[in-house]
C-alpha cells in the first residue's frame, strides 16, 4: 500500500501509478495536454506540473510515479506561472485561427487557455508558416495548429499498430507526417484524429459542415458493421448524421474505432434509399402504397400456405437487423407462415461453424471475451485476417503481441505480419492436413481428456492415420502450442466455406478441447450471433432450443399461442436449391442480398427467378431486390431502437438517431403482415419485443433495456446453456483433390468495406473506391503484372475486370478478391459444393486465369 498526500488529502494506492492517475482517482484535476488515457505517458507538454516536497524542480504529474510518503501540491503561484508560460509558448506560433477551425468549441488548447490563461502579446516575431495539407482523401493536416503532443503518433503506433505516421523534423520544424509521400495510405481508423487535442488533423468528410455546438443531439449507439459491436456516439443535426465520435471509457472498444465504424455512417443518409414500397406490375417495379403492398404479400403467403403448406415458403433473415427484428421474423415464419424454412447468410460461415463447435464442445464454447485475448500466452490465428474482418478484435491481438503473447498465423493474416511470432503457409487448401497433424501431435503429447467420449474416440481414430507434412515452421508451431501456456484460437471463415470444411472444424475443435483453449469466431456482420440466438435457424428455437425436443417446443407454443410446425426447415443453400426445384414458391428476404452474397450468382439468380413470389425488405434496391415482386423499404441501423449480440455474445443497445425515410420499423412491417395473415402480433415498442424474448429465451432471461444500457450483458445472461453435446460425431466420405500449379480464386475480407452496405458510404468509397485483385509477388512477376494494372479475371463462372494490387504477404498460389462492389464481386466467379456435414457451400479450388488488358 502506497500512501501519498495531494493538496492535504491523503490518497491510498494499491499499486504504483502516476501522480496524475492518483490525482484523477481522487477527483483532483490537473491540466494536461500530451497525456491521454489510452496512451503511455510522454511528458512533452510540461503542463501537468506539480510541486513535490523535497524535490527541487516542478515535476510533471503524468510521468512521476507516486512513491510512498510523497507530498504533492497541484496549486501554487509557481505552478500557475509555469502553466501560463507553457500556454504562452504554445500560442506564440499558433495561428489562432479559431474562427475558421473546425475544432473550435471542442479544442483542448482553447479550453486550457480559457481556464489557465496566457500572457498576451509578448511575442512580436514572425510565426512559423506551414501550408495546410489536403493531399489525403480523408484527413486534412494543419501543422500550424499542431502542438506536437504526439498523441496521434502514439495512437497510430502503440495502439492501432498501423505505424503510418510520425513526427519528422526537429525542434520547431517538427511536423506530423504520414510515411507515404502524399496520402496517409494507412488503415484509416481515424483514431489519430480523435486523440488530436487541437484542429491539426481533421476529417474531410466532416470538414466545415458544422460547429460542435450546433449539434441537435448525440446518440449513444453501436456500430452496424461487424460482429465486434463497438460503442460510439453519433452526432445529429437536421435529421442527418454528421459525425461519429468515440466513447472513451465505455464498451469493449473504449473509444477506438476502425475505418468502417468511424467513416461508414453516411450509409443510411444515402440518396439511394428506398422510400416507398415497390410492386412488380407487368414485369416492372412500380411505387405503391403500404396497404396495397402488405395486403398483396399477406394474401400471397396465405394462399401458398393454405394450398401448398408452409414448406413452400422460406425466409432469409438478416445479420444486420436487430435481435428484435429477427425474433419477430422467425416467429412470423413459424407461426404465420407455418414453416421452419428460415436461415441466413450466416450459414455460409459463422452459424455453421458455431453450430458444429457447440455440438462437439457444448453450448457457449465460442462465447469468450474479446479483451481476454490479451491474457493469452499463445494466439493461433487461421482462416482470415482478424484485423480486417473484426478490426477492434484485431487490436487486442496486436496488443497481446506487444505484451509478449506469441502470435501464430496459419495461412494469411496481413494485418498481423508485423506482430506474428511465426507463420506457416500450408499447401493450398490443405489446412485440414496441417491441423490434423497438430491435433494428433497434441494428442500424442498430452493424451485424451476423457470428458467428451465421442470427441475422444474420434481423436484417437484420427491418430491412426500417418501424416507426413513438411512445412516450414510447423514443428515450431507444434512446440509453441505444447509449451503449456494458455491458448486462444481465432478462427476466420475462410476455412469454413470448404466442401470438406468439417474436417478443419473437427481438428480445431479437437485442439481446442485438448489444449483447453478459448475459441473465437470472426464475425463479419453486426448481429450474426443475435440472429442465431433469436432462432433464425431451421432447427432451433430462440435461445438455442432444438426444435426436436418436445418440451421446449411446447413451452414456446404456450407463449406464442399456436403450433410450431413439426418438421425441421431447410438450410440456406437447400432453400436456394428447393427454390430452383420449385418446391419453394415464396421467399421472404429481410435485409439480405443473396444474389450478390452467395457463390454461383447466376444459379442463385435463376433460382430466385423461378419463384412464384419474392419479397425483399431492404434499405436499397439491391441485386436481389431488383428481382422481387414486392420490395418493402426497411429501416437502417441508425433509425431504430433494438439490440445486437456481438461475437463474444455481449448484448448491446442500438439507439434511434434519425428517422427512417419510409417511417417503417422492420419488426412492425412484419408484425402487420402477420396480423393480416391471421396470426396477430402487436408490439408497441422494440423494448416490448425484448420483454418477450426475455421470457422465452433461456439465454436472455429477465433481460431489460435498462440492464443492457449499463453495458455488461454477456452470455448467458441470467440463464444457462441447456443443449448437450452429440454422442456421435457425423462423418462424411472423404474426397481428395490435388491442386495443380495454377492460380486459385479466394474471397478477401477487406478492411474498408463490409459486404455491400458500405458501398454507399462515401468516405469509405473514397478510401477504397475500386475492387482490386490481390496477388503474391511471385505470381505477379510471372504474369508480368505491376501494381495498378488492369486485368480480366476469369473462371468457369464468368469474368470481370479489376485492377491488380501486389500483396507481399501472399505466399501461395491464391489470388484474392473482395465481394463488395457492384457487378464485381468474387462470388459471381465462384462455384460451390456443399459440405455434407456443415451444409456450408464450399468455394475452394476455383481455378482462375488472369490476363492483362
Amino acid at each position: 500500500m502506497i500512501t501519498i498526500n495531494i493538496n492535504e488529502k491523503e490518497i491510498r494506492l494499491d499499486k504504483p501509478v502516476t501522480v496524475l492517475e492518483a490525482a484523477r482517482t481522487a477527483g483532483i484535476k490537473i491540466p494536461t495536454l500530451c497525456a491521454h488515457e489510452l496512451l503511455e505517458a510522454y511528458g512533452g507538454c510540461r503542463l501537468c506540473v506539480v510541486e513535490v516536497e523535497r524535490m527541487l524542480k516542478l515535476q510533471t504529474a503524468c510521468t512521476l510515479i507516486a512513491a510512498d510518503g510523497m507530498v504533492i501540491r497541484t496549486k501554487s503561484e509557481a505552478i500557475s506561472n509555469a502553466r501560463r508560460s507553457i500556454l504562452e509558448f504554445l500560442l506564440i506560433n499558433h495561428p489562432l485561427d479559431c474562427p475558421v477551425c473546425d475544432k473550435a468549441g471542442e479544442c483542448e488548447l482553447q479550453d486550457l487557455v480559457n481556464k489557465y490563461g496566457a500572457t498576451a502579446g509578448r511575442f512580436k516575431e514572425e510565426k512559423r508558416k506551414v501550408p495546410e495539407s489536403h493531399e489525403d482523401r480523408i484527413f486534412t493536416r494543419n501543422m500550424e495548429r499542431c502542438v506536437l503532443c504526439t498523441r496521434c503518433v502514439r495512437m497510430c503506433n502503440d495502439v492501432q499498430g498501423a505505424s503510418a505516421i510520425n513526427i519528422v523534423g526537429r525542434g520547431g520544424r517538427s511536423r506530423m507526417e504520414p510515411f507515404s509521400p502524399t496520402s496517409f495510405n494507412c488503415e484509416y481508423c481515424g483514431n489519430c484524429l480523435t486523440v488530436c487535442p487541437v484542429g491539426a488533423i481533421l476529417s474531410r468528410p466532416h470538414l466545415h459542415s458544422l460547429r460542435p455546438w450546433q449539434i441537435d443531439k448525440e446518440v449513444e449507439t453501436i456500430c452496424p458493421y461487424c460482429g465486434v459491436g463497438c460503442s460510439f456516439v453519433v452526432q445529429v443535426r437536421d435529421e442527418s448524421i454528421k459525425r461519429v465520435i468515440p466513447r472513451f471509457g465505455f464498451g469493449l472498444n473504449n473509444g477506438l474505432l476502425c475505418s468502417r465504424g468511424r467513416f461508414g455512417y453516411e450509409v443510411t443518409g444515402s440518396q439511394e434509399r428506398i422510400k416507398v414500397p415497390l410492386v412488380r406490375i407487368d414485369g416492372k417495379l412500380h411505387q405503391s402504397t403500404w396497404d396495397y403492398a402488405l395486403n398483396l404479400i399477406a394474401d400471397k403467403l396465405k394462399d401458398i400456405r393454405d394450398t401448398h403448406g408452409g414448406s413452400a415458403i422460406a425466409g432469409i433473415a438478416s445479420p444486420r437487423c436487430t435481435n428484435e427484428d429477427n425474433y419477430v421474423f422467425q416467429k412470423f415464419m413459424r407461426m404465420a407462415c407455418k414453416t421452419n424454412n428460415i436461415d441466413s447468410i450466416s450459414r455460409i460461415g459463422f452459424a455453421s461453424a458455431q453450430r458444429y463447435f457447440e455440438d462437439l464442445l457444448g453450448q457457449g464454447i465460442t462465447a469468450n471475451i474479446i479483451l481476454g485475448l490479451k491474457n493469452s500466452d499463445i494466439i493461433l490465428v487461421l482462416g482470415g485476417d482478424p484485423t480486417a474482418v473484426n478490426p477492434i478484435l484485431g487490436l487486442s491481438i496486436r496488443a497481446a503481441a506487444r505484451n509478449g503473447t506469441k502470435i501464430a498465423v496459419i495461412g494469411n493474416a496481413k494485418g498481423l505480419e508485423r506482430f506474428k511470432t511465426l507463420r506457416i503457409v500450408p499447401d493450398i487448401f490443405k489446412e485440414a492436413e496441417v491441423l490434423e497433424y497438430l491435433l494428433t501431435e497434441i494428442f500424442r503429447a498430452k493424451g485424451l481428456r476423457g470428458e467428451k467420449p465421442a470427441l475422444d474416440r474420434k481423436i484417437e481414430g484420427l491418430s491412426g492415420k500417418s501424416l507426413k507434412i513438411d512445412i516450414a515452421g510447423l514443428a515450431e508451431l507444434k512446440d509453441v502450442l505444447l509449451s503449456g501456456g494458455s491458448v486462444s484460437i481465432v478462427l476466420g471463415m475462410d476455412v469454413v466455406h470448404r466442401s470438406r470444411g468439417h474436417r478443419i472444424l473437427f481438428a480445431v475443435a479437437g485442439i481446442t478441447y485438448l489444449l483447453e483453449a478459448r475459441l473465437y469466431l470472426l464475425s463479419e456482420s453486426s448481429n450474426e450471433q443475435g440472429l442465431i440466438d433469436m432462432g433464425c435457424v431451421p432447427d432451433m428455437l430462440p435461445g438455442g432450443r432444438p426444435l426436436v425436443v418436445g418440451d421446449f417446443k411446447k413451452r414456446f407454443e404456450t407463449v406464442w399461442k399456436g403450433t410450431i410446425p413439426e418438421k425441421g426447415g431447410l438450410t440456406l443453400m437447400e432453400i436456394i436449391e428447393a427454390t430452383k426445384d420449385k418446391k419453394i414458391k415464396v421467399l421472404y428476404v429481410m435485409g439480405e442480398n443473396p444474389v450478390f452474397n452467395l457463390p454461383n450468382t447466376s444459379y442463385v439468380k435463376e433460382a430466385l427467378k423461378s419463384l412464384d413470389f419474392l419479397v425483399v425488405q431492404d434499405i436499397f434496391l439491391t441485386e436481389t431486390a431488383e428481382l422481387a415482386d414486392v420490395v418493402l423499404p426497411a429501416s437502417g441501423w441508425s433509425e431504430k431502437d433494438g439490440t445486437y449480440t456481438n461475437l463474444e455474445r455481449r448484448i448491446q443497445l442500438l439507439r434511434k438517431a434519425v428517422n427512417t425515410p419510409s417511417s417503417a420499423d422492420d419488426w412492425r412491417t412484419i408484425s402487420e403482415i402477420s396480423s393480416k395473415m391471421g396470426y396477430e402480433m402487436h408490439y408497441p415498442r422494440a423494448e416490448d419485443i425484448m420483454e418477450e424474448i426475455a421470457t422465452v429465451s433461456p439465454l436472455y432471461k429477465d433481460l431489460t433495456y435498462d440492464e443492457i444500457e449499463k453495458g455488461n450483458c454477456l452470455w448467458p445472461y441470467n440463464g444457462e446453456p441447456l443443449r448437450g453435446v452429440v454422442s456421435e460425431i457425423p462423418a462424411a466420405e472423404e474426397t481428395f483433390r490435388e491442386y495443380k500449379e495454377g492460380l486459385y480464386l479466394a474471397p478477401e475480407k477487406i478492411l474498408f468495406h463490409s459486404g455491400t452496405l458500405s458501398r454507399r458510404a462515401l468516405a469509405l468509397r473514397k478510401i477504397c473506391p475500386e475492387p482490386t485483385l490481390k496477388i503474391g509477388t511471385n505470381h505477379a512477376e510471372k504474369l508480368g503484372l505491376k501494381e495498378g494494372d488492369n486485368v480480366s479475371v476469369s473462371t468457369a463462372q464468368g469474368s470481370i475486370n479489376v485492377q491488380v494490387s501486389i500483396d507481399t504477404a501472399i505466399k501461395d498460389n491464391k489470388v484474392l478478391l473482395g465481394n463488395n462492389f457492384e457487378g464485381r464481386g468474387v462470388f459471381s466467379l465462384l462455384n460451390y459444393e456443399i459440405d455434407p456435414i456443415t451444409k456450408v457451400p464450399g468455394i475452394e479450388g476455383c481455378e482462375v486465369t488472369i490476363e492483362k488488358i
Partner: protein
C-alpha cells in the same frame, strides 16, 4: 580486491600531488589516454600491443566481473560525458538488474560545441577504447557493445571499423575472447547528426532505429535501456580510463588529480588562445593554468574577456573567475560546470551578444522538439537575439530574454533546454551591459 599486483606503484608515476593543482606550473604527466599518439601508426593494433596494449584484458579476466566493478568504484572514476556520475556505481546498478542480455554502449556522439576531446582517442588510440569496452563489458556481463559514433566523424568510423576488425582477428573480440569462454561483440553505429542523440536515452532510441528523443526517466537505462534491457552508456573517455585502472589499480589511479574526482582528463581548448588543442592533464588543474601555461595564453596578446569552461551548455565565466579547479566537484562551487571539459576562450574583441546568438541558434536547431519550453523557447530566444545583434533590439528585450530563459529553465524534459536557457542567463548576468549597448546603439558594438 584480493589480488596482488605488480604494476600500479604510485611512486613510479607522474601523478600530481593535490597540493600543486592551483599552481601555474606546467604539469608534465605521463600520458595515459593519449599514450603513443605521436606515432603515426598509433591506431594499428600491433603498435598498441607494442606499448603494452591489451595486456590489461587478460589481467581483468583473472578477476570476477563483480571485482572489476568494485575496483572501478574504488578508483573514483566519474563519467566524462558531462555529468560526472560515478562510473562504478552506474555499473553496479546494471549488474544488480537480473535481466539479460545487458548491453554496453559507448557514447561517441561528441556533439557539444567546443568539444573534440574524444576525437583523438577515436582516431588515434581506438584500441585503448576497445580494450576499455571489453573489460567494461566483462564487468557488467554484457556480450554486446556498440559505439554510437557522431555522424560527422567519418574518419573515426573508418579507424574504428578497422580496429574492430583487427581485434576480432586477434581474438580480443568474438565468441571466445582470448579462449577464456568470454563472449563480447562490438559494432559501430553512426548517428545522423543530432546533438540530442548524445543524451543517453535519446541515443538509445536512435540506436534502436527510432527518432532520437529522450525517454522518461526513471526507469534509467541501467534497468530499461536498449531494447528494454539493462544498458550502460559511457563516454569514450570514461571507458578509456578503465584499462589503466586495471593496470595501475584503483589506489594508484585515485591518486591522480583531485581527491574527490581523480584521474587524467582530456581538456580541449579552443578560441582565442595561442595553442588550441587537446591536453591530457590531471583532474582539478586550474582553468588559468590550462589557458596560460598549457595553451600558451591569449592570442595576439589580447586581453581575456570570458571563458566557457565545459562546452557551450556550461555557464560563462568572466576573466576574473578563472582560478577554479577544473573538476566535477569544484566547478559548481565556482558558478559553472566541468561539462565535457571543452574550454572556449574569448578575448576582448569578441561580441558576447553574438556568442549568445550563435549558441541559441545552435540550441534552436538541435532542440529535439519533444517538450514545449525548449522547442518554442529556444526559437523565441534566438529570434530576439538575432534582432538585437542586427541592431533591431527593442526596449524590454533584455527583460524578455531573461524572463523567457527563466521560464525555460528547470521546466524542460531534458538538460538540453536548461543548457540553452543557462547560456542566456549566464551571459546576461556577466555581460548585460553589452546587450544594453547593442539595443541603445542599434548596432553591434564590435563589428
Amino acid at each position: 580486491m584480493c589480488h596482488s599486483r605488480k604494476s600500479g606503484n604510485p611512486e613510479k608515476r607522474n601523478w600530481i600531488p593535490h597540493q600543486v593543482r592551483n599552481d601555474r606550473q606546467k604539469i608534465i604527466m605521463e600520458k595515459i589516454l593519449l599514450k603513443n599518439i605521436e606515432n603515426p601508426d598509433s591506431a594499428d593494433i600491433n603498435e598498441y600491443i607494442n606499448v603494452g596494449g591489451y595486456k590489461n584484458l587478460s589481467k581483468a579476466f583473472e578477476y570476477q566481473p563483480k571485482d572489476v566493478i568494485e575496483e572501478v568504484k574504488k578508483s573514483g572514476l566519474r563519467g566524462r560525458g558531462g555529468a560526472g556520475f560515478p562510473t562504478g556505481m552506474k555499473w553496479s546498478f546494471a549488474d544488480a538488474d537480473p535481466k539479460f542480455p545487458k548491453y554496453l554502449v559507448c557514447n561517441a556522439d561528441e556533439g557539444e560545441p567546443g568539444t573534440f576531446k574524444d576525437r583523438p582517442i577515436l582516431e588515434k588510440n581506438p584500441h585503448l577504447l576497445i580494450e576499455g569496452l571489453i573489460i567494461s563489458g566483462y564487468a557488467i556481463r554484457a556480450e554486446y557493445g556498440y559505439i554510437y559514433l557522431r555522424g560527422e566523424y567519418p574518419y573515426a568510423k573508418e579507424v574504428l571499423n578497422r580496429a574492430i576488425r583487427q581485434a576480432y582477428e586477434k581474438n580480443y573480440l568474438g565468441d571466445n575472447v582470448l579462449g577464456k569462454n568470454i563472449k563480447f561483440h562490438l559494432a559501430v553505429y553512426q548517428g545522423a547528426g543530432a546533438y540530442i542523440c548524445g543524451e543517453e536515452t535519446a541515443l538509445i532510441e536512435s540506436l534502436e532505429g527510432k527518432k532520437g528523443q529522450p525517454r522518461i526517466k526513471p526507469p534509467f537505462p541501467v534497468n530499461v535501456g536498449a531494447w528494454g534491457m539493462p544498458t550502460i552508456v559511457n563516454n569514450v573517455e570514461t571507458l578509456s580510463n578503465v584499462p589503466y585502472i586495471i593496470e595501475a589499480g584503483a589506489v594508484a589511479y585515485s591518486q591522480i588529480g583531485s581527491k574527490d574526482c581523480p584521474g587524467p582528463k582530456l581538456y580541449c581548448i579552443s578560441g582565442c588562445v595561442e595553442k588550441p588543442g587537446v591536453y591530457e592533464l590531471p583532474m582539478g588543474i586550474s582553468l588559468r593554468n590550462i589557458i596560460y601555461t598549457h595553451a600558451g595564453g591569449i592570442k595576439d596578446g589580447k586581453k581575456l574577456k570570458a571563458v566557457i569552461p565545459g562546452g557551450i551548455s556550461t555557464s560563462v565565466l568572466p576573466a576574473d573567475k578563472i582560478d577554479c579547479p577544473m573538476d566535477f566537484v569544484s566547478m559548481p562551487k565556482h558558478g559553472s560546470m566541468l561539462g565535457s571539459g571543452a574550454v572556449i576562450v574569448m578575448d576582448e574583441s569578441v561580441c558576447m551578444v553574438k556568442v549568445t546568438y550563435r549558441a541559441l541558434k545552435f540550441f534552436e536547431h538541435e532542440s529535439c522538439g519533444k517538450c514545449v519550453p525548449c522547442r518554442e523557447g529556444t526559437e523565441w530566444l534566438r529570434k530576439i537575439l538575432e534582432r538585437i545583434e542586427q541592431g533591431m533590439g527593442r526596449e524590454g528585450d533584455i527583460e524578455l530574454l531573461s524572463d523567457v530563459s527563466e521560464t525555460i529553465s528547470g521546466r524542460t524534459f531534458c538538460p538540453l533546454g536548461d543548457g540553452a536557457a543557462g547560456v542566456v542567463i549566464g551571459m546576461l548576468k556577466h555581460f548585460r551591459h553589452e546587450f544594453e549597448e547593442h539595443i541603445k546603439n542599434a548596432k553591434c558594438i564590435f563589428s
